[in-house]
Chain length 235, copies 2
């Protein structure tokens, strides 16, 4: 945790918070703070700054908050991702938040196992928990928007064209395609397939929605690694 994120409910006054949960434990056990110490903090959805420890007890801490810095810029990106297996989903949500993706669409694909849609990790509270871990890691205070699209065809035909309008549309896909471009400044809509890749029908439909296949070389990467590699190369 490189940033302590504050929820609205933590505030007992405009510049005072009381913490009692895992953040208190972390302050005590990892940061080993004492009264008077300063910590980096951010208000979820708002500014970042510092907190001074006013009071520290076994069950709660009171902090005085100064919020005066903007969070880091997000990437100019909408990411469309075939739903990964549950364990990978949690890590990908952290990575997406840490890397600064502002909008993630989790979509079905032929090679997504149906059981993956049953995971409790898709519940809004569980998604938010992983996103917050990513923001705490990277020092960002703004949650990405996560949209769930359980049906591929209606999403790609009816909603993706509007989402990708005015952006460079790309699909990460192994094969004889142009290499993924580097160091872009323009907005991008990027689709990343499941383990095993998109099927040709899906590639066709994504192309009709304006997303062209690009490749990252012959090595097959895990989803989490592919997400990081594509983002790092694009921006």
């Amino acid at each position: 945790m490189n940033l302590l994120l504050l929820e609205e409910a933590d505030f007992i006054a405009a510049d005072l918070v009381v913490l009692r949960d895992r953040r208190l434990t972390h302050m005590q056990e990892v940061h080993r703070v004492a009264v008077g110490d300063s910590l980096r903090v951010g208000r979820i959805g708002g500014l970042m700054g510092s907190a001074q420890v006013l009071r520290l007890e076994a069950t709660e801490a009171e902090l005085q908050i100064t919020l005066d810095q903007p969070p880091p810029a997000k990437l100019p990106l909408t990411m469309v991702l075939a739903l990964p297996r549950p364990k990978m989903l949690r890590r990908v949500l952290q990575t997406v938040a840490a890397m600064g993706v502002p909008r993630l669409v989790l979509v079905n694909s032929y090679r997504v196992e149906k059981s993956f849609w049953q995971t409790p990790f898709l519940e809004p509270g569980a998604i938010r928990e992983q996103l917050i871990l990513g923001l705490e890691q990277a020092r960002d205070s703004v949650l990405p928007e996560v949209v769930i699209e359980k049906r591929f065809k209606p999403f790609v035909e009816d909603r993706l064209p509007a989402l990708s309008a005015g952006t460079l549309g790309l699909v990460g896909h192994p094969g004889q395609y142009p290499p993924c471009p580097r160091g872009l400044d323009e907005p991008v809509t990027l689709a990343i397939g499941p383990e095993g890749g998109w099927i040709p029908y899906e590639i066709d439909l994504l192309a009709k929605a304006g997303l062209q296949p690009v490749q990252l070389g012959e090595r097959i990467l895990r989803v989490e690694t592919a997400v990081t590699a594509l983002l790092s190369r694009l921006f």
Copy 2:
């Protein structure tokens, strides 16, 4: 597992192997192979190609092997990495092997906890196991070389200058440094610090050995994510 890797001990003739371990289980439970099916294989340290299932029983399988393809090229890179915490070490070893790093030096640093050096995951067999998982994922048959340097100063002063001679020497480090370069063709020696970063003394010593700091932006990434992001941007 996108590639079945074969050990010398699996061969019962020049083009025949017998498998009995987790690879047999994987073939049966994940790939659901039958007699006559073909699989992608690679000989560790050698060529890649295909295998045909000749015989499949509950406890062993016999495969006929054709090896006729070179493994994918490695990156022109030596990576120097401050030893991560044990759980992260395992994932980083997989990532390093999957991304095509040919040589990894695990080194001490002021912010590496002493206990990390006690982990059984540093034993040669445990390191090899994680590297093989990475190679199986990415479809590569050549193990990276992993060197362990438990003392920072003698390594950086006495051995790093020879390792980095004739390469572009870089240290990934947050701060007011030039951005990490993109799309290089030349050989690189890249050092990546621990959680919390290198200390100034270490940055000075690395600079004297020819490695200059570069940064990836203000977001603080987990070690595994930073490794992937730096490699994807450099090459």
